[in-house]
């Protein structure tokens, strides 16, 4: 029956593309989370009056974040081709999309981390200091747990954006549903392929959003 509705869809290829999209999204979300968190924490702690107040580091990190956040993703992908080639030896396939995805999304997420950390009551950090906590302890036991709901809702938004980015990366040959929709659907005028790919992308986005919202509300004890 499905074959009657979508005559041009090769389900095997569609499934393969879906797995690639999920793979790219999952790996890039995880690495974006780590890199963005590190960048966000550095931005926060080096800002004036904070524990590592340091103007130079703050300005450098801030500029890095702002520059990479401002470059349109499709241009970033092209700019990073030499870097990706150097790193992975190829610019094709799911893994080749990862550097661009992470470098594109991590600065975006770092900003959200910074906003989340700024929301933490200064008094709580002061209390931890008054107990003799090391900065490292403050990061692990105060900054991250106290901003966790915001960190998770932030990574949810970022993960949804990353699904979109994987589709764009697909256009230049990274595989996944975007690649399939563009090559097989658009260029060969098979609208049913484009439609099915779109529906699958939507399902992935809904699942990410649902999981993100669920964890956010579970971790929020305020």
């Amino acid at each position: 029956m499905l074959n009657d509705l979508f005559p041009n869809v090769d389900w095997e290829m569609m499934w393969e593309a879906t797995r690639e999209t999920i793979y790219m999204t999952a790996v890039s979300t995880l690495l974006t989370f780590i890199l963005g968190l590190v960048l966000g924490i550095v931005l926060f702690l080096t800002s004036p009056t904070q524990l590592w107040a340091n103007k130079i580091v703050n300005v450098l990190t801030g500029s890095f974040v702002n520059i990479f956040r401002s470059i349109p993703f499709i241009i970033l992908v092209i700019l990073l081709i030499p870097f990706t080639k150097f790193l992975l030896g190829t610019i094709r396939g799911a893994n080749a999309a990862l550097p661009a995805l992470i470098i594109g999304a991590a600065p975006f997420y770092a900003r959200m981390v910074l906003i989340a950390l700024r929301e933490i009551d200064k008094g709580v950090i002061e209390a931890a200091r008054s107990m003799g906590a090391k900065t490292w302890t403050i990061i692990w036991k105060v900054l991250i747990p106290e901003s966790l709901p915001a960190l998770i809702s932030g990574i949810t938004v970022t993960a949804v954006a990353l699904v979109g980015y994987t589709a764009m990366a697909g256009v230049i040959g990274a595989g996944g549903l975007g690649n399939l929709a563009f090559m097989d659907g658009f260029q060969r005028s098979r609208n049913d392929v484009t439609l099915v790919a779109t529906i699958l992308v939507l399902i992935i986005v809904f699942i990410i959003q649902f999981i993100g919202d669920f964890i956010t509300s579970k971790t929020d004890k305020r």
């Binding site: 009551d121 209390a127 107990m131 003799g132 302890t137 036991k141 004890k221």
Partner: protein, 342 residues
């Protein structure tokens, strides 16, 4: 013992330097409850943060438990802070942790084993009266309960000094009293030194042994609470004292009296300690040919004894009135003629 020597703290602001603490010398004895009172901006918040090194003095020395807090740093300072704990106006609990996890936090920082932590947390929960709320999150507690968690957390590492930063200012009067009672009981039970800052004279009156009054970064008056209550010298201290000795309508009733009876004398009497319990007024009436009309009276119990004021109108011959006042003086009761409602 806590010792501050010529401590100055300046902040750089957009309009030049701001001196928050201006050449303060202070010594606080072991085991006492020492209060620092002042209006906001007087420098008391900075002062208390100098004691655990959250703020570093621009010049001068801060010595707590024999350590020069202003000079040590890194691990040495962090270890010193285990013995100088702090509670806060807004409690500053971690909302992501339950009551018991909040109390365990300083123990984790000090590197205490898990079994040991659990045991200690149970004791502390018992001590501050929070049994049954171990698994609650701060958002499920009332203000008073949150401050109890704050106190339990502060006591976790057996500190020698407890710093209270406006610890009751966010609480209602009844809860304030309960928390103050708890502070007194831990001071007596554990023998730790308590330094508190506040803008409420009520707090000083109720639990402090000694008090320092701060204004514009300087200590303008200090001494035993009872003495300061009895004869406040600085204008600001008088204002603070009147916070607890005067009730609403006090001034109005006095000016009314002065207006209605311009020929009689209104006299304010000061009773200290056991004098507050003597039947002085009835003796006065019996022995001298005067009438006494009581206008206003008040007794404030302080940590080192009660302190009372009584405003009376003494009616009679000038001669008799003068003798009556003399009699009071002999009895050790200070008096002061009131000429205006101020």
């Amino acid at each position: 013992m806590i010792q501050l020597e010529n401590v100055v703290k300046k902040y750089k602001t957009a309009n030049g330097y701001l001196t928050a603490v201006n050449d303060v010398n202070l010594s606080i004895n072991d085991g006492e409850i020492f209060g620092i009172i002042g209006y906001s901006g007087a420098g008391k918040s900075t002062m208390i943060r100098l004691l655990n090194g959250l703020e570093k003095p621009t010049s001068g020395k801060v010595i707590v438990n024999g350590q020069n807090i202003s000079a040590i740093r890194g691990k040495e300072l962090r270890n010193a802070r285990h013995k100088i704990s702090m509670i806060f106006q807004h409690f500053n609990l971690l909302w992501s942790r339950t009551v018991e996890e909040n109390i365990a936090f300083p123990l984790e920082i000090a590197g205490i084993s898990k079994a040991e932590r659990q045991k200690r947390v149970l004791e502390l929960i018992e001590l501050v009266g929070l049994k049954g709320r171990e698994k609650s999150y701060p958002s499920q507690l009332s203000g008073g309960q949150k401050q109890r968690v704050g106190i339990a957390r502060a006591l976790a590492n057996d500190p020698e000094v407890l710093l209270c930063d406006e610890a009751t200012s966010a609480l209602d009067p009844e809860t304030t009293d309960a928390i103050l009672d708890l502070l007194v009981s831990i001071n007596e039970k554990l023998g730790l030194t308590i330094v508190l800052i506040t803008h409420e004279m009520h707090v000083i009156r109720k639990i402090c042994h000694r008090v320092a009054v701060m204004e514009a970064g300087k200590i303008v008056e200090r001494g035993n609470v009872l003495e300061v209550f009895q004869s406040p010298k600085a204008e600001i201290t008088q204002k603070f004292v009147s916070q607890v000795t005067e009730t609403a309508g006090h001034k109005e009733s006095i000016s009314q009296m002065l207006e209605d009876y311009p020929n009689d004398q209104l006299i304010k009497l000061f009773f200290v300690g056991s004098k507050t319990e003597q039947p002085v007024i009835s003796q006065l009436i019996r022995e001298f040919n005067v009438d006494v009309n009581i206008v206003h009276g008040n007794i404030s119990p302080t940590k080192s004894g009660p302190y009372g004021t009584l405003i009376v109108r003494i009616v009679g011959d000038t001669d008799h009135v003068a003798k009556a006042i003399q009699y009071l003086d002999v009895q050790g009761i200070k008096s002061e003629v009131i000429n205006n409602a101020e």
